[in-house]
Amino acid sequence: MLITTPNLTRPDESYARLIATHEGLSEAESHALNARLILILMNHIGDEAVLAEAILLARDPSAV
């Protein structure tokens, strides 16, 4: 089951790191990085049912 309650150990640091890693990249490079990051995180999650929930939620954030 997808965790939608707060779960980040250090929310501000993680978000800042995400933004910082895109510094100096072109838009195309940033998109490619995001794609790689999504794939890496998908593998970490692994569970197809959880991924399906996350993908649905991303498409329609009101569908919690």
Partner: protein
């Protein structure tokens, strides 16, 4: 008066020259038990399987043998097992190129290698590469051998079906020959006349699906090269001969090269030998001597008929379903159609099984076609991404695949053909929870070495009752069907593939070597009930 039956392609082997049949002079049309239309691999295999099962069968083909060009190339282990049951596999294995290793490249980087070699203890390799005309020739050789042993198979070359008229108890055909037209009737008609199926069109039946907007160039080249016997696949190759490229070895020093050309191309121009040579040169380098053996540009579609059975007409192979070539699921799935259909039709023709058994051919092979279309569509979407964002994710996967093994599981240059398991089929009977999932009802039996020979060579003449770790009767009968008993002592392979956590097992196995039901003890009443179910009597 002589009539011309024009050849749509050049023959590699003239196998069944036209000869006038007595049917052509008959005053009323002669009615046959089964008529197969089409002399490709699926038509030949259908005639062979039916004939070996004792069903009188006539095959009509508008050509006199196997067409030139390699077309189908990769024949999978399950196909070889089926061909072995049909007495055709040994020369295929001797002539074909066996391969297990594949390499995947992106640009000029080797991303990874994979090995398709299955676990040990199988009679046949994962794949062989063999040009389609040879596959057809070996099936024809097996037909000739079967005929010599009395199998009622008749092949009629230069017999073109021009009209088909279904009736309640037969199908009437108008056939054109060099000696003019004649009429013939079939109790059952099997349409194996390919993706453009004239029979399907004459019957006004649909063939819907998805067209892929891409062109692929096949260049089969003859060269003495020391490339290893492996499947090499490039995404966005550095030599720029296409958006993707494939190199694969065939017998007789022929190599299959496949280039993805894109959608908006000038077909005639791309087929000019100089242009093809420029692409091949860029790929192989300037110092490699080769000659072009056979070239073709193809587009492809993933589609199927809604139903494969239309009364007394049964569609098999490309006439019923079509996939992209990635995954070798065309001819291999057609051979599985034959495997599924022949025993059922034989039991119906003998009057042992009700006609509705043939509806399970439709259900089981539609299921197989869906699986193949799904796999083939996914591979095609990965190889030829349809949107910028799809291409971005594809290339992200490739960027990770070199160093991260998880990403290799997503790379899809074709999920290579595996036999279909008929989960949920109405023919399936009891399952046992302690036994392995791979041999659940509906599964094709995995092979295993026995004291002498191989397990699969003991299965498939009719229904088999297989006991492992217990004795089953040598012969039983039920519902008009003979049941051959096979009692085996457990071996490590049989334990791993058939027993799992069970101490002993009884398997009811269909004539196509698929599991019908299984138990951990012998209960003859339960076996008889499962047998009734497996022949559509329940």
């Amino acid at each position: 008066m002589k009539h011309d039956i024009p050849e749509r392609y050049t023959l590699a082997f003239r196998l069944y020259p036209y000869a006038k049949s007595p049917d052509q002079d008959a005053t009323t049309p002669v009615r046959h038990k089964a008529v197969v239309v089409g002399g490709g691999p699926i038509g030949l295999a259908t005639a062979l399987d039916l004939g070996r099962r004792g069903v009188p069968v006539v095959l009509l083909d508008d050509h006199e043998g196997a067409g030139l060009g390699s077309r189908a190339l990769c024949f999978a282990k399950r196909t070889l097992e089926i061909c072995d049951r049909l007495g055709a596999a040994k020369p295929m294995l001797a002539k074909g190129v066996q391969w297990n290793l594949g390499k995947v490249f992106h640009d000029d980087r080797l991303l990874y290698e994979f090995n398709l070699l299955p676990e040990g203890g199988h009679a046949f390799p994962a794949f062989i590469n063999l040009q389609q005309p040879w596959f057809e020739k070996f099936l024809h050789d097996a037909i000739v051998a079967a005929q010599a042993e009395g199998a009622p198979i008749e092949l009629r070359g230069k017999n073109r079906v021009d009209a088909v008229t279904p009736a309640a108890d037969h199908v009437a055909l108008d056939v054109m020959t060099p000696d003019g037209p004649y009429k013939v009737e079939a109790e059952w008609l099997i349409a194996c006349d390919g993706a453009r199926s004239p029979l399907r069109n004459m019957l006004g039946l649909g063939f819907d699906g998805r067209v892929f907007e891409d062109n692929f160039l096949i260049a089969d080249v003859k060269m003495k090269a020391d490339f290893p016997t492996e499947r090499w696949f490039w995404f966005e190759p550095h030599f720029k001969s296409g958006d993707s490229a494939l190199l694969h070895k065939q017998p007789d020093d022929i190599w299959r090269i496949d280039f993805q050309l894109g959608w908006n191309i000038d077909r005639a121009k791309e087929l000019e030998p100089a242009r093809i040579r420029a692409r091949v040169d860029a790929m192989l380098g300037p110092d490699v001597d080769y000659e072009l053996d056979w070239c073709s540009i193809y587009t492809f579609q993933c589609r199927r008929m809604e139903r494969f059975r239309h009364g007394r007409v049964l569609f098999a192979g490309d006439s019923a379903h079509q996939v992209s070539p990635f995954g070798a699921r065309g001819a291999n799935s057609g051979v599985q159609d034959v495997d599924n259909l022949a025993w059922k039709l034989a039991l119906v023709v003998e009057g042992v099984a009700p006609e509705r058994l043939l509806d399970s051919y439709d259900a089981e092979r539609v299921h197989g076609a869906e699986e193949n279309i799904l796999n083939s569509t996914r591979a095609t979407d990965f190889i030829t991404p349809k949107t910028p964002v799809s291409k971005m994710f594809r290339n992200a996967v490739l960027a990770l695949a070199g160093s991260l093994p998880f990403a290799r599981t997503v790379v899809n240059s074709g999920r290579l053909s595996l036999p279909c398991t008929y989960d949920g089929s109405v023919l399936n009977g009891a399952d046992h929870p302690a036994m392995p999932a791979r041999t659940r009802p509906g599964s094709p039996c995995p092979d295993a070495p026995l004291d002498r020979g191989w397990l699969l060579s003991r299965l498939g003449r009719g229904f088999t009752l297989m006991g492992i770790g217990l004795e089953v009767p040598k012969a039983m009968a039920g519902h008009g069907v003979a049941l051959e008993g096979l009692s085996l002592a457990p071996t490590p392979e049989l334990v791993a593939r058939y027993l799992g956590g069970a101490e002993r097992a009884v398997y009811l196995i269909r004539p196509d070597q698929h599991v019908a039901a299984r138990w951990d003890h012998l209960d003859e009443a339960a076996v008889a009930a499962a047998l009734a179910r497996a022949i559509g009597k329940e």
